[in-house]
């Protein structure tokens, strides 16, 4: 039982705003440094080392930014919904702050996935846009992120706003499997999954490695950007508390 109480204590300690502010500040430079290294290697191997695709020529190299962005757009939504559950059930302030800080970052990656997809679609499909299931459900994801941000700003009280946002985020989760399986459930111009399927990925190792490196770099970037936003939001919410006053050396 001692272990359980210790875990619970650690959990509450980690979730306390001053503790999280301090620890995230210590981690941030390391996460950012590793992220930068991975970006450098991912770009080098994606643009120099990876061979030309036999079907799509050089144009396929857009995959190294398009696919990680699209993965992040869904991953960030799941983080937002998961922290939304924690915010609803345990009323944890840190969870509320993480949840709302996810929204603009997720929206930016969703926009990036849509934009790079469109740029890739023009030379490959000869069109910027089609109203098929994959593209439409991804666009819906962007609107869900916008909805979350608008709802949060529409409600004066931050805690009430967070609860309303958590419910909206949870309802929107239904869209995530639709995005993922859309290329299998419906006919589309969009190519099928090449990495996330149960049998062997249908992509050569020389292209898979830069793709995965870029995916990890995007993930670390998300963590960095999220930490920056969460730290800012914590300062804002707790500006009258002692730890913020001590931190800013106010009397």
């Amino acid at each position: 039982m001692k272990i359980v109480t210790n875990i619970i204590r650690l959990y509450h300690q980690f979730a306390s705003p001053p503790y999280f502010y301090r620890i995230s500040g210590l981690w941030l430079p390391y996460v950012m440094g590793l992220c930068g290294l991975l970006f450098a290697y991912g770009l080098y191997s994606g643009l120099f080392l990876a061979p030309t695709d036999y079907e799509q020529g050089e144009a396929y190299r857009i995959i190294f930014v398009h696919v990680p962005a699209a993965w992040m757009s869904m991953f960030i939504y799941m983080v937002m919904a998961a922290t939304g559950v924690v915010a609803l059930v345990w009323r944890l302030k840190l969870a509320e702050v993480v949840m709302i800080s996810c929204a603009p970052i997720g929206a930016s990656f969703t926009f990036l996935a849509l934009a790079t997809g469109s740029i890739w679609g023009k030379p490959m499909w000869n069109t910027w846009w089609v109203w098929d299931a994959r593209l439409t459900s991804e666009l819906l994801l962007l609107f869900l992120y916008f909805g979350v941000m608008a709802l949060y700003n529409a409600i004066e009280d931050r805690r009430t706003a967070a609860r309303a946002v958590a419910i909206l985020a949870l309802v929107g989760v239904v869209n995530i499997p639709v995005i993922h399986y859309s290329v299998e459930w419906w006919n589309t111009l969009h190519q099928g999954p090449t990495v996330t399927k149960f049998d062997k990925p249908s992509i050569h190792l020389s292209m898979l490695i830069p793709l995965l490196v870029m995916a990890v770099a995007f993930k670390l970037f998300f963590i960095s950007s999220l930490f920056m936003r969460v730290r800012m939001e914590l300062l804002k919410r707790e500006k009258n508390s002692k730890w913020v006053r001590d931190l800013l050396e106010l009397k």
Binding site: R61, I62, S108, T116, I119, F221, L248
Partner: protein, 64 residues
């Protein structure tokens, strides 16, 4: 720089990577600016209230 020439796909590839760079920069610069502004605001309010009052209305205080 011959290796970075993607022929007829140059525009599409560099547009994608350029957009990516812009989105990444946006995600760094916006929270940085917001944090600096917030800290400035907190410090200014603290300075204005240094006499111990809770009055945060700047215009009223200046006219006194």
């Amino acid at each position: 720089m011959e290796a970075l020439d993607f022929g007829k796909y140059n525009f599409y590839i560099w547009a994608s990577y350029g957009l990516t760079l812009m989105v990444l920069l946006w995600n760094i610069i916006v929270p940085l600016l917001a944090k600096n502004k917030l800290i400035k605001d907190i410090k200014r309010r603290n300075y204005l209230n240094s006499d111990g009052s809770n009055d945060t209305n700047i215009i009223n205080r200046k006219s006194k």
